[in-house]
């Protein structure tokens, strides 16, 4: 049974259709990739799943409980955490405080120690005392992942987490994702780095113009004609 179920989700902004009846299942303990060209609706779908935007139609369920009208902070308590394409760190706080806030809100004992351990785990331990607003994009993304992990999520939604990381850092990040999966965490990953996505994902959904145009294992998706058309413009 899927941990996260998205059924017939549609999202319209005045005349623009961002999502047009998306269905998506994320199985527990897996990494699910969500790919698609720019403007496909990936971030909008993340916003709908995390409660930042209410869908025009459709439902979102977490562990069989419908959460379509649940506020973002309650969804977090139900086990949904996310990162953002535009990172959204608390720029006035240090990296450690960014992670501590999340641990404190989740009422984790010894929040500061937890935060330090999580920064170490994502490979950003040396950044603990730096003001978040001064971090490079790649470092800030790692802190954002640590911050999301501090809420002890059941499912982690990652929006382009490897953007801004160099090749070595991306490989390390892939290893981190596999480690998180081994620990039982479920991940829904939006990423443009196809090597990373194909490398770590158990299942992939491809979104284009607000619709799921393909889904399956990485090798199935790679050879799907609709996917090739969406990315390369060829039939």
């Amino acid at each position: 049974m899927a941990l996260l179920e998205v059924r017939s989700v549609a999202m319209r902004f005045r005349g623009v259709v961002a999502l047009a009846g998306v269905d998506l299942d994320v199985a527990p303990g897996t990494i699910t990739g969500l790919i698609g060209p720019n403007g496909a609706g990936k971030t909008t779908l993340f916003n709908v799943i995390s409660g930042v935007q209410a869908p025009t139609a459709g439902t979102v369920s977490m562990a069989s409980e419908v959460i379509t009208n649940v506020s973002p902070h309650r969804r977090c308590k139900l086990g949904i955490a996310r990162t953002f394409q535009r990172i959204e760190l608390f720029n006035s706080l240090t990296a450690l405080e960014n992670v501590s806030v999340a641990a404190e809100v989740a009422r984790r004992p010894h929040a500061q120690r937890v935060a330090t351990e999580l920064l170490e785990r994502v490979g950003a331990g040396q950044l603990a005392d730096q003001i978040a607003g001064n971090l490079s994009t790649g470092s800030a993304r790692l802190v954002a992942v640590a911050r999301a992990l501090a809420t002890q999520p059941k499912i982690l939604l990652l929006d382009e987490p490897a953007s801004g990381l160099d090749e070595h850092e991306t490989r390390s990040f892939g290893a981190l994702l596999r480690g998180l999966r081994t620990d039982g965490l479920t991940v829904l990953l939006v990423e443009h780095d196809m090597t990373l996505v194909m490398d770590v994902s158990d299942h992939i959904y491809v979104l284009d113009l607000g619709r799921v145009i393909a889904s399956g294992s990485p090798s199935e998706v790679q050879h799907d004609r609709n996917v090739l058309a969406a990315y390369l413009g060829a039939a």
Partner: protein, 756 residues
């Protein structure tokens, strides 16, 4: 029926004026993202300028009108955009709003300075005495002109924004300024055009409104309240809905005037006097509109603002609190009663400003009503049982905190400017309908009992001064503790990225309510501890604006910033008293100080703090400086030094000598001796010269003091720095150590072959 038609026509005319003003607000907001709270002040100033030309100098009306509305107003708007608003990029909404508040405060001060109240003849409406008969009602030409102007503006703006290149560019500026620039647009020029047009509309509205209501500085300035209620009706975007909102407001106001005198209209509701209801109509309308507005969507895109909120260290905070109380106790003994009362006022304002630190500085939520909560605190302290004992104080603070939370609830569905406007509306509503109640403030005033602590008499000005300084120190330490707590980090998270905070499990509504409650509670302390007679005009919306402004100027993210804000307001009053010739200038001063915020959005204290940073960890030096201060105080107490000598010595010691001491000590021996000698001169002069005998004018005394601080403070730094080296600049460093000159840019362009 005839009276209904007549009042409908009057209402439509009034609505047309609101529409003119509101459309100007929408124009600047949609093109620059800045909500101009000084819009009404622009209208007020232009009404006075028109009056000056038309009625004082006797110029023909059309000539005066054209000069004011089509030359001076656009020029003013363009200059404001170029020199103030353009510098506000990458600043928070709080700073942007505060700069417009600064303009408003400066405009009120300027109007009071140039046109003192009561010194002018009546303002006549356009074509006074000319009217046409409509359904038996004499419709004045001014009303016809007003309606005509509103219709013309509505059509003109619609055409401008949707049918002209300039209009399309104006809308593009809001969507993406840099993209417009890349595509050949000139966003700065477009913004300037919008501000110029907006100022013209404000000017026209101000002149028309003055024709209806006469010249009056504050009511004309607060025209903006009616206008922003209308603008919010159009959600600051839609001109048709803005006009509709303005017309509804005009009609409601007119019908209220028409029928509030009828027998069926209630004078009181449950003993609650409704006299002030008319002035509250726009604020009530604003609240209603806010209630029906859709919930503000969370947006991604945390800004990398120029402001930074530092975590205050306990050691610095405790030292600061101890120094504040000690200095107040030391100085209070030397002050005359009137000066002590000024300082009491300063601490009153400082506590009000402190209430904004958790709310605005930490949580990023703007409030324009700190004095309203202080007023409620004073009212409850006077009326609750116990007559001013500690339990009465606690009760008053808790009740006001709950009121703050409850009032905030409807406004919390929205963010940013809407929230600020809602608090402004609450301030006006409370002044008009709560503080005006005879039971609350008999004869518009009441006596707030002094805090009853067994064994302590807190009724004298000196005792009140010390009491308020202790209160500030304790509340300040409480605010520091808040910032260092989990809640404090959540407040910062709420300010930095509401969307991230929400998805990490932070309940935004609850956090904002708590922030509002804490803020209201702190402000209530200020009112409840006032301990003397107080009138309602101290707690008005207009009176509160300088407090908000100077809190932001001081640095609203820091306890020291709030103290700076309060003390500045108190010092301004002292300066006005000390140097009567500067009294008028002091009315403009807070506004002028606030206008500079765009350059330093962190506030003044954040700029001053680095001066004293070299003292960090040098405890012996700090102890020496404190010892010197104590010695000066002791010599004054023993009447060795006069009060002027005390003031001169302490100010030169604090501002010119102490910041330079670490550098003087660390410099090479030869230079050290020269610098130390140079620094000793102002101290000796301050302590030896019998200042008020040598210079009889208080104004010159203040000027000499300022000159001494500048000459000897900056001079020491120059001595320590030595001669500037004449080593030629490395080409690698061009553009890094300093900004490139236009000639250098041109040279680089030529070298690179870039041709425009």
């Amino acid at each position: 029926m005839e009276s209904f038609i007549a009042f409908t026509i009057i209402g439509l005319s009034t609505g047309a004026i609101y529409a003119l003003a509101a459309s100007g607000l929408v124009l600047t907001y949609t093109t620059s993202g800045i909500f101009n709270l000084s819009h009404g002040a622009t209208g007020m100033l232009s009404a006075f300028v028109y009056w000056q030309m038309r009625f004082d100098w006797g110029w023909p009306a059309p000539f005066a009108l054209v000069i004011t509305v089509f030359i001076l107003c656009p020029l003013y708007g363009a200059l404001v955009e170029k020199f103030l608003m353009r510098g506000l990029r990458d600043t928070s909404e709080v700073v942007r709003l505060s700069v417009t508040v600064a303009l408003l405060v400066a405009a009120i001060g300027l109007a009071n300075w140039v046109w003192p109240p009561g010194n002018y003849v009546a303002f006549q409406a356009l074509f006074e005495g000319h009217a046409v008969d409509v359904f038996g009602y004499n419709l004045s030409w001014q009303k016809i002109i007003t309606a005509g102007c509103a219709i013309a503006v509505a059509i003109g703006l619609r055409y401008l924004l949707f049918r002209t290149r300039a209009g399309v560019a104006m809308r593009a500026v809001v969507d993406d300024r840099s993209l417009l620039e890349i595509n050949g647009g000139r966003p700065d020029r477009i913004s300037m055009l919008a501000w110029a047009g907006s100022a013209s509309l404000a000017g026209l509205a101000g002149i028309l409104l003055a024709g209806e209501q006469q010249l009056n500085i504050v009511p004309l300035t607060l025209l903006v309240v009616n206008a922003y209620a209308a603008a919010i009706f159009g959600r600051l975007r839609s001109l048709p809905f803005t006009f509709l909102g303005a017309v509804i407001l005009g009609l409601v106001d007119s019908y209220y005037v028409a029928y509030s005198g009828d027998s069926w209209f209630p004078r009181t509701v449950f003993g609650f006097d409704l006299t002030g209801l008319r002035g509250s109509v726009p604020t009530i309308a604003l609240f209603v509109v806010l209630l029906v507005l859709p919930h503000t969507r969370l947006h991604a895109g945390a800004l990398k603002l120029r402001e930074r909120t530092k975590v205050p260290a306990w050691s610095t905070s405790l030292l600061g609190a101890a120094l504040l109380v000690t200095a107040t106790v030391a100085v209070s003994g030397m002050l005359a009663r009137s000066d002590a009362l000024y300082l009491v006022d300063a601490f009153f304002f400082a506590i009000c400003a402190l209430s904004l630190v958790p709310l605005t500085g930490y949580a990023g939520q703007m409030s324009l009503a700190p004095l309203t909560f202080a007023g409620l605190g004073a009212m409850l302290m006077a009326h609750l049982p116990g007559h001013g004992n500690v339990l009465t104080l606690v009760g008053a603070v808790l009740i006001v905190a709950v009121i703050g939370a409850v009032i905030a609830l409807p406004a919390l569905r929205v963010q940013g400017i809407y929230l600020a406007l809602a608090t402004g509306a609450f301030a006006i509503f409370t002044s008009n309908l709560i503080f005006s109640q005879g039971r609350a403030f008999p004869n518009a005033g009441l006596t707030v009992p002094t805090l009853g602590i067994p064994g302590l008499d807190l009724s004298t000005p000196r005792a009140r001064l010390v009491e308020l300084s202790v209160a500030y120190a304790i509340l300040g330490l409480g605010v520091v503790a808040l910032r260092r707590s989990r809640l404090g980090r959540r407040l910062i998270a709420l300010k930095d990225s509401p969307i991230a905070a929400a998805t990490l499990g932070v309940n935004l509504t609850l956090t904002k309510v708590v922030a509002f409650a804490i803020s209201a509670g702190i402000a209530a302390f200020a009112g409840a501890l006032f301990g003397a007679s107080v009138t309602t005009d101290r707690f008005t919306f207009a009176a509160g604006l300088p407090v908000v402004l100077l809190a932001v100027v001081g640095g609203v993210g820091a306890v020291s910033g709030a103290l700076f804000g309060g003390i500045s307001l108190g010092a301004n009053a002292v300066l006005a008293n000390l140097v009567p010739s500067l009294r008028k200038a002091t009315q403009v001063l807070p506004g002028l100080v606030g206008i500079g915020l765009g350059r330093d959005p962190d506030g003044v204290t954040a700029q001053i703090a680095p001066w004293y940073a070299p003292l960090k960890g040098r405890w012996r030096l700090i102890a020496g400086c404190v010892g010197a201060g104590v010695a000066v105080w002791a010599l004054t107490s023993l009447s060795v030094l006069s009060h002027w000598q005390f003031g001169f010595t302490m100010i030169t010691l604090t501002v010119a000598v102490v910041p330079n001491l670490p550098a003087v000590i660390d410099s090479p021996p030869g230079r050290r001796a020269v610098a130390a000698g140079w620094l000793a001169v102002p101290l000796v002069l301050s302590a030896v010269v019998d200042w008020d005998s040598v210079i009889t004018s208080s104004g010159w005394l203040v000027a000499v003091l300022v000159a001494m601080v500048v000459v000897f403070g900056a001079g020491t730094r120059r001595i320590l720095a030595g001669r500037p080296s004449k080593i030629s600049e490395s080409p690698d460093e061009v553009g890094l150590r300093r900004a490139l000159l236009p000639t250098e840019v041109a040279q680089i362009d030529r070298t690179l072959g870039v041709v425009f």
